[in-house]
Structure formats: C-alpha cells, structure tokens
C-alpha cells in the first residue's frame, strides 16, 4: 500500500521523484552512482577529451593552432625516437613486472598457506615499507645502488671488487630493480587474496590421488591463483610503463622512458600537442598489450583446465 492512499488527511503524499525512485530500480541505481559518475566525468572523461582534442592540434609559437591535423601522429610514427622509447618502456616495465610477480608470489604463498595466526599482522608487516612515500623509496634505492652506496661499499669491503660498480646506478637495471621493489605491495595483495581463496580440500584430494608437491602446485594452486597473477601483472605493468619519477632520478641518459619524453613536451620542449599525442599513443599501446595479455592467459587457462 502506498502512502498516497492513506486516508489520514495530514499525511503528505510522496512527491513525483520519490514515486519514480520507488518504482524504478534502474533510476535508483543511477542516483546512487551519480556522485562517483560525476567525479569520473569531471576528473577523467573531460581531461581525456581535452587531451584527445589537443593531440590533433599543433604548436604555433607559444599558442596552439587548433585546426585539426594528424601531423603529431605521423611524426610519432615516422621518427624512430618515439618508437624506441615506447619499446624501451615496455621492456623495462615488462621486466619489472615479471620480477615483481616472481618475487612476491612466494611471499604471498607463505602467508596464505603457512601462517595460521595473525595473518592480518603479517600482511601489514609486509606492506609496511610502502607506507612511506614513493619518492622516498626511489631515493632510498639511489642510496643503496649509488657509487658509495650500500652495495658498492659492501662489495668493496669484502674485497670482491676493486672499484665501485658504476652500472648499478643511472642505468636501466637500476630502474628495473627500483620499480620491482616500489610496486611490490600491488602484487602481494592480489596474489595473497587469490591464494587465500583456494579450497584446501582440493589440495588434499590431489595428494590422495597421488600428486607430489610439485605436480599439485602446478595442477591446482597455480591455475587457481591465475586471476591474482593477472591482476598483479596489470596493476604493475600499466602504471610502470608511464612511470616518470624513477627513470628521471636513477635512469641516467640511457634509462629514460616514454614518461620522461612526454614530460619534456609539456616542459622544456614546450610542444603540448605532441605530448598529448604521445600520451594517447601510450594509452592505446598499453590497452593493446593488456588485451593481448588477457587473451594469452585465457588460452593458458583453457589448456591448464
């Protein structure tokens, strides 16, 4: 019975909006979504649209020539530097991603299967280093890998090397190491969640049916934790490809990535439309690599199942 039919005169009849909301579940959903949707529209869609529009403009002295042109994209395709930087970024962040997932998997596995009390405390302890700022972690690695850093002075005092290793800092290797550490929390958490969810009785069944620990891991644990691996890979690969701070601080001349190139377009080079075009290209490539990766994991999953 709706309130409108109530025969006590003072009771106010519900307004038009309330009636509509009451009837339509879709409308209720939209109203609930609207604050987030608004933030998304203002904070993400509009800037992306501006970026897209700007990428078809061109630079004219200090201002923009707003006649639409694909010249920026043509330039990105024809000049080797852009392709090379993109490839280098994918290479560095791909290596960092693989390294991170490989290093974090055992940690997540240990907490999920071998810790029975105070699991939350363990998770908090593992993520503790990530409570400091990203920038501080990068600087910490500068101290560790530096010419007079922890690694070099350690090796020197043990007599293993006679001169400090110069390649540790200002190199692609330094960027990979730093990224692998700086993003570890983003791998541990999804991996832990997917491992934690695995039904232990499946593992018992596998053991009962004669699988050794290795076969059991490969046939049960690994396939069932695949969603966590996929999530971790995406969470690390996407942001690190465009990373700018790490290569800027410890990459040196040969460790610069596409994010640094984009920053330069908006800074010293002062060619915003080119920077916008490069950002769009980067987004499209990351999307393409992501889709390809998803398809591969689908196939692998189908094989394993």
């Amino acid at each position: 019975m709706s309130l409108a039919q109530d025969d006590r005169g003072q009771q106010r009849a519900p307004g038009w909006l309330a009636r509509r909301l009451h009837r339509s579940e879709t409308l209720r959903g939209w109203v609930l979504l609207s604050p987030t949707a608004l933030v998304m529209a203002v904070g993400i869609l509009v800037p992306t649209a501006i970026l897209l529009a700007m990428s078809f403009w061109s630079r004219q002295g200090l201002d923009f020539d707003t006649t639409l042109t694909t010249a920026n994209y043509a330039r990105a395709a024809s000049e080797p530097i852009f392709g090379a930087f993109l490839l280098r970024s994918f290479w560095i962040s791909g290596l960092a991603t693989v390294l991170t997932v490989l290093l974090c998997y055992p940690m997540a596995y240990f907490v999920a299967f071998h810790i029975h009390h105070n699991k939350m405390l363990w998770i908090v302890l593992i993520t503790l280093p990530f409570w400091t700022s990203y920038l501080l972690r990068v600087f910490a690695w500068k101290v560790i890998l530096g010419y007079e850093g922890v690694v070099n002075s350690g090796l020197l005092s043990m007599g293993l090397i006679e001169e400090p290793l110069a390649f540790l800092l200002y190199s692609q290797a330094a960027v990979v190491i730093t990224l692998a550490h700086a993003w570890a929390a983003f791998a541990i958490l999804p991996l832990y969640v997917s491992l934690e969810k695995i039904d232990r009785s499946l593992l018992e069944a596998a053991t009962d049916l004669g699988d050794g620990p290795v076969r059991r891991f490969l046939r049960i644990t690994l396939p069932l934790s695949l969603p966590g691996i996929v999530a971790a890979t995406f969470l690390i690969f996407i942001p690190t490809t465009g990373d700018y701070i790490t290569p800027a601080l410890i990459g040196g001349p040969d460790g610069a990535m596409i994010g640094n190139l984009i920053q330069l377009q908006f800074g010293a080079v002062n060619n915003w439309p080119m920077g916008a075009a490069l950002s769009i290209i980067l987004m499209l490539w990351i999307a393409a690599v992501g889709v390809a990766f998803l398809i591969v994991t689908r196939i692998v999953k189908a094989r394993l199942a």
């Binding site: 002295g61 200090l62 400090p164 110069a166 001349p253 040969d254 190139l261 010293a268 002062n270």
Partner: protein, 373 residues
C-alpha cells in the same frame, strides 16, 4: 557567551539546553561562513611566493624579510627557467620569479610580468648600474622589468686529484674520452647548449643560424656517450664529484665553492675559450597576490647581508655594490669574481636573448640528443 563560562557550566551541570543549542548554532554559522569571508582577510597572513632554483630557498637570503614578517617567504622550485616559464604560462601564479638575462626578452613578451617600481626598494640605489642596463630590461618610463640579483659563470668543476690536465684548462675537458662515464653535465639547455656553442667555436651572435645548430648539435652528440648523468640538481653533481664518481662536471660557481669549503680537492676551471657568463634577477608577476611582500622579497635579496652570503658561501657575484666591501681583491679573484662585474662578464661569453622559436627548437634538439638521437 564566554567559552570558559560554558565549559564551567557544563561541568557543574547548569548549562541549559537552550544555551547549549545557541552555542552550537553559533559554531555552525561560523564554520559555514568561513569560506565566504573576503579572501583578503585570509591572504593577510600569507607570505609572498618566490619561484626559483633549489639553493635559493634558504633563510640566509631573507634576513630582512624575516625580521619584517616573522617568517620566510614560500618557495616554489624549478629545474630550469624554461620549465618555470611554461608552468606560469599554464596559469601558475607566484609573486616573484627568478629568470636570467638569456630569457629576459621572452619572459617580458609573455605578458606575465609587471615593471618594478624601484622607489619601493631601499637597496636599489646601490645596485650596480651595468647589471640593470642589460638588453631589453628597461621598459616604459625607465622602469626595469628585472631587478638584477646574482651573476656568475657556468664552467667546469673538476677533481684536481683525479683529472689529469693536458695543457690549459679548456672546454675539451668535458669531451675527454679518457674520463668517459665519469663526466657530468647540467641538464638544462640554457646552460649546456651555450657551453656547447663555446666548445664548437660558434659566436653567440650567430647562435640562431642553421649552421650553428648543426655544429652545436654535433659536439653535443659527440659528448653524450661520455656523460654519466645530466641533471639540474646541483647537489647530485656535487655529491658525485666529492665521492669521485665524477671526475669533472659542468657546474656554476657555487658547486666549486661549496666543495672547496668541505675540503674536496676541486678547481673551478677558467677555460681558455672563456666561460659562459650570466646575470640573473627577479621579476614580479603581473597578478602577484602579495605585491607588498614581493617588493620585500626583492629588497631582501638585494641587501648587503644576502650579498655577502652569496659571495662568501656560493661564490656568486651579487648586484649590490656594497656587498663586495667586506672582501679584499685577492679573495674575490680566487672566487673568480671582481668588484667590477664588467671585467668578468666581458671576459667570458655573455648570453644573448633569443626568440621563443629558437628556445623551443634548441630544447627539442638538445632533449633528443640527451635521449640518444
């Protein structure tokens, strides 16, 4: 309606509900209306903002300002003047910014600045006139756009115990393949490109020609594989020089002075081809939100106490004539300075203001070279 009375009343349980509600209402109205209060009221407590390089954000330069306002100005840091200008073009508003002579004309043309009313600066009469009279500085009515503050050189700081000098000091030191991987450079084209021009033998008058671009680009490409790090962070270069990671690096006066004061065996080269010389100063943003404090920032920078610090601790020249009185000629000569800045500025290569097109093109080419192309 006294707060303490209220609290006491609550303690002894005598506060009526009505009185309590009234205080709640007052607090609510206060909180709600704060954002609508005139902005000026808020800005009064704010300090002026100084947009500059790292290293100028220190109390020693703002003794007068601090005495007057009880706090330091706010600082915003850029890596190079071009980066700073781009940020301000994008809408970033500061009170005072810190460009150099090479960018002066472009900074004025950007329309983001206002000429300086020198009558509001108590230290202005002592400013060296040859520094005020740089190309393009005097606007209508003889008002300058830029109040000169510091001047100095870009040259090579090298470790005397590591770098074996072959003959005279020269720009070739930063192209010396024996020290490949142990050389450093400033990342900003505003320094490096001009030094490249000196090395390539390009006259600064011809620096905008295509031929000059090709020549300078060629020497920068030749240098790139030898460079361990390009950075605008001078303390990175100083640390690397002090640890021996770098044997030589392109720096300003201050790096050499700082390292020497710490006992590191370094020398600030006087290259036979001549060093790069520059004058930097401060400009006021046209929409400066704290105009009075902007003048106080400038006056503080021009003061003798700031000048003596600049000369003694950083080894830079200062624009106040009186700052030099505390130093004798040999001390100044050892720092590569003189009481007569014309001697130093004339002996080196003085940057010539360029167009925006040139600046963008130079940065684009130089960034490509640094990236390996």
């Amino acid at each position: 309606m006294d707060v303490i009375d209220h609290l006491a009343a609550v303690k002894i349980g005598k506060l009526s509900r009505r009185a309590f509600n009234r205080s709640l209402l007052a607090a609510g109205v206060g909180v709600l209306s704060t954002p609508f209060m005139p902005r000026r009221a808020l800005a009064q407590g704010a300090q002026g903002t100084f947009f500059t390089w790292g290293g100028y954000d220190i109390p020693e330069l703002f003794v007068d300002y601090q005495t007057k306002h009880g706090a330091l100005p706010n600082f915003a840091i850029f890596g190079g003047t071009e980066e700073g200008l781009t940020k301000m073009r994008g809408g970033y508003v500061v009170d005072v910014a810190h460009p150099c002579n090479a960018g002066l004309v472009r900074w004025i043309d950007s329309g983001l600045f206002q000429p300086i009313d020198t009558s509001r600066l108590s230290n202005w009469p002592d400013v060296l006139p040859e520094l005020i009279d740089i190309q393009g500085n005097l606007g209508e009515g003889g008002r300058p756009w830029l109040a000169p503050f510091d001047w100095g050189q870009t040259s090579i700081t090298y470790r005397t115990d590591i770098f074996e000098l072959e003959g005279e000091e020269s720009w070739n030191m930063l192209w010396d393949a024996r020290y490949g991987g142990r050389l450093g450079s400033l990342a900003s084209g505003g320094d490096a490109w001009w030094c490249g021009a000196i090395k390539a033998g390009v006259d600064f008058k011809d620096i905008a020609t295509d031929e000059a671009f090709d020549k300078i680009a060629a020497v920068m490409r030749e240098q790139r594989p030898l460079i361990r790090v390009y950075t605008d962070d001078t303390s990175s270069l100083e640390q690397a020089l002090s640890s021996g990671e770098l044997a030589a690096a392109m720096t300003w006066n201050s790096s050499a002075t700082l390292l020497k004061s710490q006992g590191v065996p370094v020398e600030f080269a006087k290259p036979k081809e001549g060093a790069l010389t520059w004058v930097c100063g401060v400009m006021i943003h046209k929409d400066a939100p704290n105009l009075d404090k902007a003048y106080d920032i400038i006056d503080s920078l021009l003061s003798v106490s700031a000048g003596e610090f600049m000369i003694r601790d950083y080894g830079y020249g200062h624009s106040n004539r009186k700052s030099f009185e505390a130093f004798d000629e040999p001390t100044l000569a050892a720092l590569g300075l003189s009481k007569n800045p014309a001697d130093i500025l004339g002996a080196g290569h003085f940057q010539i203001p360029q167009t925006q097109e040139w600046e963008s093109r130079m940065n684009e080419v130089f960034e490509l070279i640094k990236a390996g192309y």
